[in-house]
């Protein structure tokens, strides 16, 4: 009799413990979403009312603190870094998955390098860009130095998502193409890449997200300078949107703080669109490989 009473109390204790754990698990799930919602709403609610035409498209001066020329620089930087990094990254993925032989030593070294690049903090990229592009190559603090630095930085994102996408192309497709007498190259460009395109694009979009949000790698390479009117001159030192926000936030004046909120709201809206598009595209390769 005593024994069962003891057993019952142990069982009850275990049940209570389990209940507490379940509560904690739910709490942490809700907490994560709650934090995200808090950050987004906080920036958007205070930022959106401060976005106006003057801020978006006006001339920069100490009164307007307009983001126009930073927006132009950000777009310029995205376009040129993608032109540099996307072919290199996609070709690298093609080499790793379509050409390299299994157990190849070079593949191991390349993978190690890609993993290392992915782990290097952006401030270290910034230091490297400052030493190499700005000083040694003599490109000075310029959009070009920033572009080159950030192209290296986004390589791992593009490589890993392209490889993932290329991997998901069924071998059947390749065999069919090779069986019809197409060369390996032809197979890659007319069968593998088109099939893998949504996955590759989702990597490209994630890379855009990184470029838009980057600050530490650009502060010493493309600089914090801002011009009254936008220029596409690659040799000009120009700040991007994220650096614009940093500069406004650290000035500490009430008006510049409002404008920092506005810039933050723009950044968040971009990140929102980027994430949404990347998820939608990545979802599409799944559909393709299920044999459509």
């Amino acid at each position: 009799m005593e024994n069962t009473a003891l057993e019952k109390s142990v069982l009850n204790k275990r049940k209570t413990k389990s209940l507490i754990l379940r509560f904690m698990v739910w709490l942490c799930g809700i907490l994560t979403v709650g934090i995200l919602a808090y950050i987004l709403l906080f920036i958007l609610v205070r930022g959106i009312p401060n976005i106006n035409m003057e801020f978006l498209f006006g001339e920069y001066n100490s009164d307007s603190l307009s983001a126009f020329s930073s927006i132009v620089t950000t777009v310029e930087m995205i376009v040129i870094s993608l032109i540099i990094a996307v072919p290199v990254g996609v070709f690298c993925a093609i080499y790793l998955h379509e050409y390299a032989k299994r157990g190849n030593k070079a593949v191991k070294v390349i993978r190690l390098a890609v993993d290392t690049l992915a782990g290097i903090p952006s401030i270290v990229y910034g230091l490297f860009g400052m030493i190499f592009f700005v000083n040694i190559l003599g490109l000075r603090a310029s959009v070009l130095s920033g572009v080159l630095t950030i192209s290296i930085m986004i390589l791992p994102v593009i490589i890993s998502s392209s490889e993932e996408a290329i991997k998901s192309v069924p071998d059947m497709y390749r065999e069919g193409s090779l069986g019809l007498g197409a060369t390996r190259l032809r197979t890659v460009f007319s069968i593998v890449l088109p099939t893998a395109m949504p996955g590759i694009l989702s990597g490209v979009i994630l890379a855009i997200g990184r470029i838009v949000g980057e600050t530490a790698a650009l502060i010493f390479t493309s600089g914090t300078n801002v011009l009254e009117n936008p220029t596409l001159d690659l040799m000009a030192s120009q700040r991007t949107l994220a650096i614009h926000m940093y500069m406004l936030a650290s000035e500490g004046l009430p008006y510049s703080k409002d404008m920092a909120f506005a810039t933050g709201a723009i950044l968040i809206i971009i990140v929102f669109i980027v994430n949404f598009a990347a998820t939608k595209l990545a979802g599409r390769i799944g559909g393709l490989s299920n044999g459509k």
Binding site: G29, A106, P121, I123, I131, F132, T183, R184, L267
Partner: protein, 293 residues
């Protein structure tokens, strides 16, 4: 014949183009380490290794100048440890939630939320920290708010997505038979998950923690906005006091540094880089070990 030859030729040419593109990453890693070390090591030699790494005296514009980064190293360790203390339990619990408890309808909200959290730029986290976390700490905990605690909270939030996604997939990878065995012995769902499933997923969770450490150690902009950045003597370092880390040392002084001062900041980057390389090496070790088992 001619066209077959030509396409064979194209194939070979493109194969080398592909190979060279793949090699760009290797070149980049070599170039980054080479130039960082070329600029950093002579500075460390000039200052003296001991005076650089094991001295807490940082005064590059004083006469005589001193270049000790010990308190920044300690600072980086403190904020990273704080981030782990805050981020890992919440992240791991959230991963368990996603993998085991979450109804499908809610999964469709939480999962994208986690991805979005990963996509938010560090400048936004920093600004949020400056506007919300710093005043909160100042009013409710103490100090002026710019502190190790604020930096740890922000970094703890920032590493959440890393911890959650990697832990979630490793929890999902635990074979169903483990759970069935535990249920068969009469364990509750929670007991099964925390005593059987999570321990079985430990190499994945460890990977997640190391990647989280890497992210926290290397974070710059979010920390610079909430940590106060004052160089503290070792015995004055406290949870509610300002702190300077390796990364923020670089970013706060680089704009006006020159000569040995500038090189010493690059050398700070070298120390950071070495930290990251050690973390990466331990990651490969875990991968190697778990693939052998």
């Amino acid at each position: 014949m001619e066209s077959i030859k030509k396409s064979k030729f194209n194939d070979t040419v493109m194969q080398s183009v592909f190979f060279m593109s793949a090699f760009v990453s290797v070149l980049a890693v070599i170039a980054i380490s080479l130039f960082l070390f070329l600029r950093g090591i002579p500075a460390i030699a000039e200052i003296g290794f001991m005076d650089f790494v094991f001295s807490e005296k940082w005064g590059p514009v004083n006469t005589p100048a001193s270049y000790g980064i010990l308190s920044m190293i300690v600072g980086s360790i403190y904020v990273t440890a704080g981030a782990i203390v805050i981020g890992v339990p919440v992240g791991l619990m959230c991963a368990v939630f996603l993998a085991e408890f979450c109804p499908e309808g809610i999964y469709k909200i939480v999962k994208p939320a986690v991805n979005l959290l990963a996509g938010i730029p560090s400048i936004i986290y920093g600004f949020f920290g400056m506007q919300i976390v710093v005043p909160f700490v100042r009013d409710n905990v103490g100090g002026n708010g710019y502190s190790i605690l604020s930096a740890s909270i922000i970094l703890g939030i920032m590493i959440l997505p890393t911890i959650i996604s990697i832990s979630e997939s490793s929890i999902r990878a635990v074979p169903e038979s483990y759970k069935e065995g535990s249920f068969g012995l009469g364990a509750t769902k929670e007991e099964t998950i925390f005593k059987v499933v999570v321990p079985a997923a430990k190499s994945g969770v460890l990977t997640a923690i190391i990647l989280g450490i890497g992210r926290a150690v290397g974070e710059t902009m979010a920390v610079v906005m909430v940590a106060g950045n004052a160089v503290m003597p070792l015995d004055k370092i406290a949870l509610l006091k300002p702190i300077r880390t390796l990364t923020t040392n670089i970013v706060t002084e680089m704009s006006y540094a020159s000569g040995l001062h500038e090189s010493s900041l690059i050398a700070t980057g070298v120390v950071l880089f070495v930290f990251i390389v050690i973390l990466n090496a331990s990651l490969s070790l875990i991968k190697f070990r778990s693939s052998r088992n």
